[in-house]
Amino acid sequence: MKYILTSIMMMLYLSAFGQEKDSLQTDTIKTQNLSDVTITSRRTGTRKMGGAVNGVMINKEELFKAACCNLGESFTTNPSVDVNYSDAATGAKQIKLLGLSGTYVQMLTENLPNFRGAAAPYALDYVPGPWMSGIQVSKGASSVKNGYESITGQIDVEYLKPDDEEGVTLNLYGNTKSRMDANADANIHLNSQLSTELLAHYQDDYGHHDENDDGFLDQANVRQWNLQNRWHYRGYNFIFHGGISMMKEKREGGQTEHHYKIGIETNRYEGYMKHAFILDPAHGTNIAVMTNLSMHQLEANYGHKHYDVNQKNAYTQMLFETNFTKQHSLSAGLSLNYDYLNRDEKETTPGIYAQYTYNLNDKVVAMAGLRADHSSRYGTFVTPRFHLKLTPNEIVSLRLSVGKGYRTVWALAENNYLLASGRQLVIDDLKQEQAWNSGISSSFYIPILGKTLKLNAEYYHTHFNRQAVIDYDSNPTEIRITNLDGKSYSNTFQIDASYLLLEGMELTVAWRLNDVKSTYGGKLMEKPLTSRYKGLVTASYKTPLGIWQFDATLQLNGGGRMPTPVDGLWEERFHAYEQVSAQITRWFRHFSVYIGGENLSGFRQKQPIINAADPWSSTFDPTMVWGPVHGAMFYAGIRVNIGRL
């Protein structure tokens, strides 16, 4: 939606986004003239978003710092989000934002809610990296425009646009863990107003790697076909975006020689359209109608356990936006969300919202939103959210936010990978989750030695009133998804700084502390499998004309609590570990080549699968993953640009 409305909203706060028409061979050297002084500096890979919400835009430059085969691999070079494996046998991955699991982050594509329920465990693999033009990560209570669900934040994926410069891009990638990726994007402008685009992806993991000799594949072999067709029309007072996509994936894991096998087959179909009718360009007055439909068919086998689901989701939203004056703007709308998993698991939720923004010369931006929704399962509920941004001068800005979020839990669909565990999976009659999130963040732009030190500090607190808790601790023979009975909260503090150390060389340093606790079996305990802290150092150097690029990242992940040990099969806590990755890119006029390595220090969790010797026992468990499951990996790739100047 942001893209649709860029032209009409840019006067407020989105002025930079309309310029994101990157081709592959673009430069990242930005020149600015201040009176008679010329300053040449590298354009950074991430930048703070404008507006009252604390957000970061991860752009193409950042995504080029690593291979970024898919969305899940796009956060390794920056401190915005953590991505962890949640299951060693299936390769399910989970985002962690503000110390909490990915289900509390609302996933959006093109600013429409997506990847709900059954799609959640493997969703990070469903967005190929070369398809993305950028990712927006918003922390804390977000806008009420996209619903009531975001509790810790939102991640919005922006795909390449049909109206970008015409041409074709091909990307081929291969790594030493027997994975190959092939991607293509092509777009054509049919006339001055209408353009279309085709995105294609194929990946194949064909190896049988078992580095720790536990008899299990270190990671699932995934074969995926993914195709998307997008359209864009821009008239005088009407803008249309639409598209369809389909994905087929086969995921195979388990024992390399014996009979315990995991097989997951997925077919996913999506369609979306967004219409914006511009009524008064001078005041940014417009009405937009947006719809997203998806069908997610999943057939999963975990040893002898079987799970099938065919989830259908329909979401539609109509919104009205206007800027009464430069200071006062309003957004109001209606929405309808429908989820159907089976006869017992379905929900229809109509909603209404209004959001008012006060902007005093960009020095004070206050945004207050309120929405009311009615769930066919849980009745009516109200979502208030408030954001304030203060920018007293060019050096400092301060953001405050507070807001409530709700979530309907599709427990088995969202956590079906837990069926891989030998424990019995028990799901109680769950209530709707409900949490408050509040936060404060500050940004400083401090001039030092002719360059700017960008310093950010933020603190967020999330407090659950109702939560579906995944309890490994109360009973050693079961994993119980149950209603919270007691306290559950998360405190996170992060500080990060980036500085242009030398001409073309940027250094980023970040540190985050997590204090996440929940009540398990009546006892307030540290959330298991969650690192207590994370440190990150990245260095990126680009030669003056941007022909060579060198990137390196060091991550330090803190230790944390393991679920209560059973029969001494594992330790009470896991320890801290480091990860190093590096990449070299050489740019040519019409193509670029890159080589790199991940997890170069070779650290891996020694026993990612508990009791791997007996996969049919109740103590078998591949779901207690806290670190890398495979050692050092090297890769190489090429991006070829045809037709784009």
Binding site: Q19, T26, I29, N33, T38, G546
Partner: protein, 89 residues
């Protein structure tokens, strides 16, 4: 040491150019920088949207203004010099 002396001996010149069509947005800047950097002898490219000019530093032993203008033609821009070359010490 020898390399440094050779580098010092390079004949680095600067030329300021205007383009047709005019460079009016960040996308134009990217296209010009993204392509001209691969022309032989180019050492630095500075674009200025305010004055719509491109300032190019080049090694005069390897290229000249005419070759740079040909480089602009490859990406469908007509470039004209707005200043005389100025040697850089």
């Amino acid at each position: 040491m020898l390399t440094a002396m050779v580098a010092l001996a390079k004949d680095i010149k600067t030329v300021v150019l205007k383009t047709q069509p005019e460079m009016h947005c960040e996308s134009c800047e990217k296209k010009i920088k993204g392509n001209l950097r691969f022309e032989k002898g180019i050492k630095n490219i500075i674009t200025d949207l305010k004055t719509k000019t491109v300032t190019i530093e080049y090694d005069a032993d390897k290229t000249n203004v005419q070759n740079i203008i040909k480089g602009f033609k490859k990406i469908k821009y007509e470039a004209t010099e707005v200043k005389k070359d100025k040697s850089k010490k």
